[in-house]
């Protein structure tokens, strides 16, 4: 795991094809620009977490509940 300090305009490269640049810092918010090949999935972390959690919950459907569904 790496930690970098970046100023506005500076970036980080991940592998050959992924680039993250700090575009703007306004107050507490950092605006990041992410360039990556089309097939690389990019998510806000909290969105990914929500989807991953919900998938785990959804996978727990019990056979008898299946019959209750209209």
């Amino acid at each position: 795991m790496l930690t970098f300090a970046r100023k506005v305009g500076q970036g980080v490269r991940i592998g050959d094809q992924i680039r993250i640049t700090v575009k703007e810092i306004r107050g507490r918010q950092v605006r990041l620009v992410i360039e990556a090949p089309r097939e690389v999935r990019i998510y806000r972390e909290e969105i990914w977490d929500q989807i991953a959690s919900e998938n785990k919950l959804a996978a727990q459907v019990e056979p008898d509940r299946l019959n209750d569904l209209e």
Binding site: Y43, E54, N55, A58, A59, V61, R65, L66, L69
Partner: protein, 138 residues
């Protein structure tokens, strides 16, 4: 081919009904093959069964039954990295979470399942710019 489903038992399905999910889905990166099964005649729900694991299946529903204005074009856009041809028919389904009673089922309209019907490739995609959430009351 034979498919084992913990929910529905042993079933014989055509090989061509298997859809490959190259990246699995979030929380299940190893679930690479799925098929859609009928739960019950006339039911609006179906079962997205992982054919690699009999114990892994998701109740799904057509998002248009939940929201007739569901933006299927945006789903196609979000699925662009699947390499689907523009004219390839796309099947879209959303995962339903069925909690224990008295909980009510909810649908994940934020992250639908998109499947190319000709290429037989699928993924769970995210409608990043939509107002949808992972739990939409049914």
């Amino acid at each position: 081919m034979r498919v084992e489903s913990q929910q529905l038992g042993t079933l014989e399905i055509p090989e061509e009904s298997i859809v490959t999910f190259p990246l699995g889905i979030p929380s299940f990166p190893d679930a690479l093959h799925f098929c859609l099964l009928e739960v019950r005649a006339g039911s609006r729900y179906r079962l997205l069964q992982c054919t690699d694991r009999p114990d892994l299946a998701f109740v799904v529903i057509d998002p248009l039954l939940v929201d007739p204005a569901y933006p299927l074009d945006d789903v196609r856009g979000a699925a662009a990295d699947l390499g689907l041809k523009p004219d390839e028919p796309l099947a879209v389904a959303v995962i339903v979470t069925v909690p224990r009673p008295p909980g009510r089922p909810t649908a994940n309209l934020l992250a639908p399942i998109a499947m190319g019907l000709r290429s037989r490739i699928g993924a769970q995609v995210v409608l990043h710019d939509s107002p949808y959430r992972v739990r939409h009351a049914l």
